[in-house]
């Protein structure tokens, strides 16, 4: 439970028993309000919160973007976004209510007039409410604008408010490498306190990711085996069946390691391996994640070839359709060395996990889309059963599927019906879709609400970001320095490059996608 929730329960006797905790009146400012993220995710998420009655009793929205347009044009744009992408069918009266007082401030992010106008609009909303509203600045912009916008907000005196909290939300990527992450943190923290900064990684807002903690810490069944004594190895997979989908400009500068491993997959690894926090509260949880990230010894540059594999997708067939290779995609250099596939072997050097290899792999244009964590247990010490005529006893696995079909399955050895004692693996399955009545809310809905409430539990702290980059940085450096070796190519629609098998050893294989 976060400090905020505990405070509310302690001081507001009306809160007990309510599923939806109060959110204080808030003005939300979206920088980059005409961009793709706002269009597809943020504005529809805000509508859904309004529909559910979850927004604060007073809620004001201001969009800021370069495009010159009037308030009404922005409202029309927002209406279009909501009608197209809302997960609930919009109620016309709620939609009209949400849009009614929405404002738009046009201008470049380095233009002081933008911040002056923003300040006037925020003050106007405060005056209407008769008190200062909480302020949340959501930076849905390219990352190079984060320091600029934060600095300008500070210069305009909008980074703090006397009687109401002010927060800033930034979207990943948080830096490009360790040095740039440190520089970004330093620049943000010159203007805002760490407690005001909410670094959003929407992955952490997914129900299944949060359920990883519930699975571990609410079930006596799993935690006793969650250590080096019982776990042989762990594979974390984030496979995509699509290519770069026209995003060469972004992807050429990022690559698979920065795009998915440094953030989403390492966060999964941290949640999977951390010690139980004393309470489900922002800093306690993040302290535990930091501790386990610090227990991962970053590789030396010389070690990288033996613990990391990169590759690019080549031409192939995906979903029955012939598709080009990465280097043939529009906007990609024919000699590009940007990886579309990355696989790593990582060790967590602490008492719980010493000696257990963690294998991470991600790639585009693989044979199917799946994100899962597979823990393979050590085999039983002695087998009394025959294996002739069957696949035999196999090590138990605990599979946590994040997408597309969220759930948990446990593989068990079971007797094949018949006169002989033959064993084969069977699955015991739990699927969210069959076990809960409610739909999982969109991650952005949860995270926007948490940011407005000041609950940072599912947001990433500055020291976590730097620890994550500290692990990844040597790999990036080694790959950057290596300008001559061939980048392995894997056929589109395949399970990835054969070179990734070499990471496993000891007779292990990658799980079939």
């Amino acid at each position: 439970m976060s400090a905020t929730v505990a405070d509310q329960l302690a001081e507001n006797p009306l809160v007990e028993g309510l599923e939806r905790l109060p959110v204080h009146p808030t003005s939300l400012v979206i920088f980059g309000a005409t961009g793709d993220l706002a269009h597809r995710k943020l504005l529809p998420a805000l509508y859904n919160l309004a529909h559910e009655g979850a927004l604060p009793e007073r809620f004001e929205l201001i969009g800021v973007s370069r495009r010159e347009q009037a308030h009404q044009d922005f409202r029309d744009l927002a209406r279009d976004s909501i009608l197209r992408f809302s997960r609930t069918r919009p109620d016309p009266q709620v939609l009209d209510g949400l849009l009614a007082d929405m404002r738009y401030v046009p201008g470049a992010f380095d233009d002081d007039d933008v911040y002056a106008e923003l300040g006037r609009t925020l003050a106007e909303f405060d005056a209407q409410a008769g008190s200062q509203l909480d302020r949340v600045f959501y930076l849905s912009t390219a990352p190079q604008f984060f320091p600029l916008i934060a600095g300008k907000l500070g210069a305009a005196g909008l980074n703090r408010c006397e009687t109401a909290p002010t927060r800033i939300v930034i979207e990943k990527p948080f830096g490009y490498d360790l040095a740039s992450a440190r520089a970004l943190n330093a620049e943000l923290l010159q203007v805002f306190d760490e407690s005001q900064v909410f670094r959003i990684d929407h992955y952490l807002g997914k129900e299944t990711v949060q359920n990883l903690m519930a699975l571990r810490f609410a079930n006596a069944l799993f935690e006793p085996v969650w250590n080096r004594n019982y776990i042989d190895n762990v594979q974390i997979t984030a496979a995509e069946d699509i290519g770069i989908e026209g995003r060469a400009g972004y992807y050429e500068g990022a690559g698979a390691l920065r795009d998915l491993v440094q953030n989403h997959m390492m966060q999964l690894l941290a949640l999977l391996t951390m010690e139980p926090p004393a309470a489900f509260e922002a800093n306690r949880l993040r302290d535990e994640k930091l501790k386990v990230l610090e227990a991962i010894v970053p590789p030396s540059i010389g070690d990288v070839p033996s613990m990391a594999v990169r590759a690019q997708y080549g031409p192939g067939v995906s979903g029955g359709v012939r598709v080009p290779g990465y280097r043939e995609e529009e906007g990609v250099a024919p000699d590009s060395r940007t990886e579309t596939y990355a696989a790593l072997r990582i060790h967590v050097s602490n008492w719980r996990w010493a000696g257990v290899p963690f294998y991470l792999r991600t790639g585009k244009r693989l044979s199917r889309k799946i994100t899962e964590i597979a823990l393979t247990l050590k085999p039983v010490p002695h087998l009394a059963f025959q294996s002739t005529g069957s696949v035999g006893v196999q090590a138990n696995q605990i599979i946590l599927t994040v997408q597309p079909d969220e759930g948990v399955s446990v593989s068990l050895g079971a007797k094949i019906p018949g006169p002989t004692m033959r064993i084969r693996p069977v699955n015991m399955e739990f699927r969210y879709g069959t076990s809960f009545l409610s739909e999982s809310p969109e991650a952005y809905e949860r995270l926007i609400l948490d940011a407005m409430r000041g609950d940072a539990t599912l947001f990433t702290r500055n020291d976590e970001i730097e620890a994550l980059w500290g692990i990844i940085d040597p790999i990036l450096a080694a790959w950057h320095l290596d300008t001559t070796s061939e980048i392995p190519q894997y056929p589109s629609g395949s399970a990835g490059p054969v070179q990734a098998e070499a990471l496993l050893g000891d007779g292990r294989t990658w799980r079939r996608l």
Partner: protein, 359 residues
């Protein structure tokens, strides 16, 4: 057993039998599941909760329509027992609904069983229902047309009783029955759920630290409700009384279904009034909280949410819209089903306080 597409979109496998028995119904359900799963391994049965509904035969269609409108909160297995005067044999009809899964996802199957039975079956109805419920799942009972004898028979085997205290003509009698039920089973009361948005908004309105202090200075509470939703109004007043440690006194009828009274606080009193208002939807129409120093906040049902009206101690008035879509009665029933999986520690104290207001 051939699948048929229903009007609402999902595909359904069906089974029916006349003069049947619970074992045959349960076997048919098992077979429906087995056959469908064998045909498509990506289809799995929903396993969340059982909903047992006891209804009068002539109103079966209306109740089935209400259940159709609960949307995503459909029970995993719904067992609708329709009581028909003069009937001596048990007829049953089972439907398994599902949508073909796409993109590697799991498809979910929901089972609906309709059992037509006679009044003579109510004594011992647990021997009909028990074999048919999916085991190891919470079982919810809803008996909108009374059938108290069936409720008493089924109480030992259920986990949750779904009631609607607004449907009884006399709110105090409805609340007394709810109080009796919570002695033996967890109760989800739709009248209580109709107050949820109001409770959430009041909690939010008084959550900022300067406002929290005002909770101790509330001098008057006015609740406006549809005439037939007196139980909801009493429960909202009871909730505030129980959360704020007021000692409720019996409210007096003022004519026209209005009630007035007071609740005692440590050193003073809070005036409480309940007033019926004309409105289409069941439930509450508005609430006004007035504090001793001149601050007041009114929330009233309005298009697209609530209309909030705040008067500050200096007489300044502000009006704004609080956003939220109406859940409708289908949504309230669906929420009732969902709430069966949760536990609300505040209903019991609110109910006790509401009963004291009710005298």
């Amino acid at each position: 057993m051939s699948p048929a597409r229903t009007a609402s979109g999902p595909i359904a496998d069906v089974w029916a039998a006349q003069d049947t028995n619970p074992d045959a119904i349960e076997a048919a359900l098992r077979e429906l599941l087995r056959e469908r799963h064998a045909a498509n391994e990506a289809l799995a049965p929903a396993r969340v909760l059982n909903l047992v509904v006891i209804v009068d035969r002539e109103w079966k269609g209306e109740v089935a329509n209400r259940l159709d409108r609960v949307g995503r909160y459909e029970a995993s297995r719904t067992i609708l027992c329709a009581v028909e005067q003069g009937r001596t044999a048990i007829d049953a009809f089972a439907v398994m609904n599902y949508k073909e899964p796409k993109d590697g996802n799991v498809g979910v199957m929901h089972e609906q069983v309709e059992i037509d039975l006679g009044p003579e079956h109510l004594d011992g109805i647990e021997t009909i229902v028990d074999p048919v419920v999916a085991s190891d799942l919470p079982t919810v009972l809803w008996s909108p047309h009374g059938h108290e004898e069936a409720v008493q028979e089924l109480l030992p085997m259920i986990d949750v009783m779904l009631i609607d205290s607004d449907t009884l003509l006399e709110p105090t009698a409805a609340l007394a029955r709810a109080a009796e039920l919570i002695e033996s089973v967890y109760v989800v009361d739709l009248a209580w759920l109709r107050t949820t948005p109001w409770r959430e908004r009041l909690a939010a309105s008084f959550d900022q630290p300067p406002r929290r202090a005002a909770l101790a200075q509330i001098a008057a509470l006015a609740v406006r409700h549809r005439a037939d939703s007196g139980a909801s109004a009493l429960l909202l007043a009871g909730w505030l009384a129980s959360r704020l440690r007021w000692e409720p006194g019996p409210l007096e009828a003022m004519g026209g279904d209005a009630f007035r009274g007071v609740a005692r606080r440590a050193r003073d009193e809070v005036s409480v009034q309940l007033d019926p208002v004309e409105q289409k939807a069941p439930g509450l129409g508005g609430v006004t909280v007035t504090c001793g120093h001149g601050f007041s906040l009114s929330l009233d049902r309005a298009a697209g949410g609530l209309c909030a009206r705040e008067r500050s101690p200096n007489g300044e008035e502000r009006v704004w819209q609080v956003l939220g879509a109406s859940r409708g009665e289908g949504g309230i029933l669906g929420e009732g089903v969902r709430q069966a999986l949760l536990r609300d520690p505040t209903y019991g104290p609110a109910l006790a306080a509401a009963r004291r207001f009710g005298g």
